[in-house]
Structure formats: C-alpha cells, structure tokens
C-alpha cells in the first residue's frame, strides 16, 4: 500500500529496525555462532542469500496462490516449507559446484532453518503488504543487518575473551550484555529514518 522507496527501506532494515537488535529475531544462532569471526561471516552471508531467495519465492506464492484461493491461514506451512526447500537446494548446489565454498558456508546452512529471522522477515513481508521489489530489498536489508550485527559482535567477543570476565558471566552471559550495548547503539539510529 504505502510506497517506501527502496533505498530508505534498505537502510531502515539494516539500521533503524535491525532484525536482531530491535526485533530480537535470530538470537539463538547468534549466541551460538558469534564466537568466531570467520564462522560469523559465513553464517551471516548464508542468511543474506537465504533471506533474499525465500522472500523472492514466497511473495509470488502469497499473492498468486494463498490470497486468491483464500488459504492465507496456511501461510506458516507454506513459508516454512519454502525456507527449508531453499536451504536444502542451496546446500546441494553449493556442494556440487564449489566444495571449497561448501566447507566454509555450507555447514551453516542447516542451522538457518531454525533461525527465526528468516521466517520473521517473510511474515513481515506479508503483514506489511510489500510489493515484490520491496520484499526483496527488505529481505536483503534484514540479512545485511543481521550479518553486520553478528560480525561486529564476533569482533567484540574476540577482545572480551582476552579480558577477565566473572565466571558466571562467561560465554552467553557476556554476549547478551554485548548485544544489549549494541542494541542501545542501534536505538540511536531510530531517529534518522522511519519505515513501516
């Protein structure tokens, strides 16, 4: 309905309404993977790719199948199958085309099915009534925002690991506190842009 231009939408989904820090989506895999900057980068890129592909596939199915046939109550079913199928297909393609890439990226793919950021973005695309272009830009922006957050957190955790942390806070505890500070920093962006 309302038209938000793609550039605004892209920046808004990266910064002002960061899928991880403002909407809490994808926290589980974030905590598990942000230990190491290499894996963080790999998972982040995988999330971007899967997000763009799943929004690109879900949009036509929503608008040309679910809505015309009045089956919107089955939307969750359809979306979760799409996400799982995209992940599975990507895994197979990467494994055959580039074994090297598979070693660095492919191992993170199965983790993505259980990443709420993907389903969350597809659901937002539905309830916000995005058109096809907006859906793709929003998918890409959310993915980039997630990637940015996880890479930044991994870099910070590297520094934190060299410093004394109370025994009870080590591991997930200090990561959550780091995320809290990052979320505070990202709250600062919210005055800049507004998007639906």
């Amino acid at each position: 309905m309302s038209y938000v231009d793609p550039i605004t939408l892209l920046f808004a989904s990266i910064f002002t309404s960061n899928i991880l820090l403002a909407n809490f989506l994808g926290t589980c895999s974030f905590i598990a993977i942000s230990k190491d900057i290499g894996s963080a980068n790999g998972l982040g890129i995988a999330v971007i790719v899967v997000l763009v592909l799943s929004s690109a596939i879900s949009w036509p199915i929503l608008h040309y199948v679910l809505i015309p046939f009045n089956m919107i109550y089955l939307d969750l079913f359809v979306y979760i199958i799409i996400v799982a199928a995209v992940v599975q297909a990507l895994e197979m393609i990467i494994e055959r085309v580039s074994p090297a890439l598979y070693m660095s990226l492919g191992i993170y793919l199965p983790l993505i099915v259980a990443n709420c950021a993907i389903l969350g973005v597809v659901l937002f695309m539905e309830i916000r009534n995005y058109d096809f272009g907006q859906a793709i830009v929003f998918g890409a922006g959310s993915g980039i925002g997630w990637w940015l957050a996880i890479v930044a957190a991994a870099a910070m955790r590297k520094k934190i690991d060299k410093n004394p942390v109370p025994a009870g806070l080590q591991g997930p505890g200090i990561t959550l506190i780091t995320m809290g500070f990052m979320a505070m920093a990202f709250v600062g962006f919210s005055g800049i842009l507004r998007v639906q």
Binding site: F24, Y73, F77, G168
Partner: protein, 216 residues
C-alpha cells in the same frame, strides 16, 4: 537406554537444565513480549503446549517415520500445532491474538520446540515426551515470567495491568522507559543468567571437594 522418570524430567527442565539458562535456547521469539506479564504468560503457555504436543506426535510416530523426511516432518508437525494455537487464540481471545500478532507464528522456529522434538521425543515414549516438552516450556516460562515481573512494573508501574506503584510514578515521567526497550531485555537475561550460573558453579565447587575427600 532407560526411560527417564517424570520426576527426573521435571527436575531437569525446571531447575538444573533450564532451557533458557543452561542452553540459552529459545529467547528469540518471546523476548519481545516480556514487557507485559499477561502477554508473557499467554505466549509461554502457548510454547509449552506446542512443545508438549509436538513432542508427543514426534514420539508417537517415531517408529513409522520416513527417515529422509524426518526433519521436514518435524517442522510441519510443529507448524500444525502453532497454526491450531493461532486459530484458537483468534476465535476465543481475539484481542490477545491480535496484539501478539506475528510472534505466535514465530513459535515454530523457537529453538526449545525444535530442540526437544529433535533430541528427546525420537528416543522416548509419547507420554514422557509430552511431559518433557511441557515442562521445558514451563522452565522457559519461569525465566521469562520473572523478566516480565521486573520490566512491567518499572516501565508502567503495573503487574498484569493492576497498578502496584502510585499513579505519580508514571505521570511524573520518572518511570524507567528503558525497561521496555530492546536493550533492557538483553541485560536482564544476562543478569538472571549470571545469578543462576554463579549459583550452579558454587554448588559444583562445593560438591567437588566432598567427592575428592570421599575417594581419599
């Protein structure tokens, strides 16, 4: 492998192996609704029921399942219960259903549901799997409920919409708005985790010398 008893499962899930505190699982979809006690309760009851019934189904069908499609069937069974929950909420508590909006759907990817149906259910009989799923949800409810009990009064001066602080607390503008914003949720989980882990480490440390002394 022996089947764990109901008592063991309860103790594991509610205390020593609490899904949020030990495994840091499943906070994604529900962290955002911990700013109100009512919403938190309804969401976490939903998670408990979905985990329970999905575990029951997965466990019941475990001898029949086609191994190649196990993962996708697991996700579909969870989705089935989530959609059912959503339809029931829509019809009988429409206001709550609408205010929880997209979060109910996101229960599907909640790592607790995924984790219990993946690890416990395929190895155990249906009834104990149901109980395991349900108590995992309750363990989750304990932590998130505690968070909402801290966040709601600080921000709105109420618990489940019943005022507990004098009205001046909110009208004077001195209430802690930060308590309902995203950062505070992260800090609170971290603090609860810290307290719990410190306690666990102490118990462990106390237990160690005792056993060491025993073997001497």
């Amino acid at each position: 492998m022996s089947t764990p008893t109901f008592k063991q499962v309860t103790r594991e899930n509610l205390n020593i192996n609490n899904p949020v505190l030990v495994q840091v699982l499943g906070i994604c979809s529900t962290l955002a609704v911990t700013n109100k006690v009512t919403n938190t309760l309804i969401m976490t009851i939903g998670v408990s029921l979905v985990t329970g019934f999905a575990s029951y189904t997965l466990s019941w069908i475990r001898t029949l399942i086609a191994r190649r499609v196990r993962m996708i069937f697991q996700v579909l069974a969870i989705t089935f219960y989530v959609v059912l929950l959503q339809l029931i909420l829509n019809a009988f508590v429409p206001e709550v259903a609408r205010s929880l909006g997209p979060y109910v759907g996101l229960i599907i990817t909640n790592c607790i549901v995924m984790g219990r149906t993946e690890t416990f259910a395929p190895a155990n009989p249906p009834l104990i799997s149901w109980w395991d799923g349900f108590t995992s949800g309750l363990g989750y409810m304990l932590v998130l409920g505690l968070m909402s009990l801290i966040r709601e009064p600080l921000a709105f001066g109420t618990i489940a919409d019943i005022p507990i602080f004098p009205p001046e607390y909110v009208s004077s503008g001195n209430n802690w708005t930060i308590a309902i914003m995203a950062p505070s949720a992260f800090f609170l989980v971290a603090i609860i985790l810290w307290v719990f882990k410190t306690r666990a480490l102490k118990i462990e440390a106390a237990a160690k010398p005792a056993t060491a002394g025993g073997t001497k």
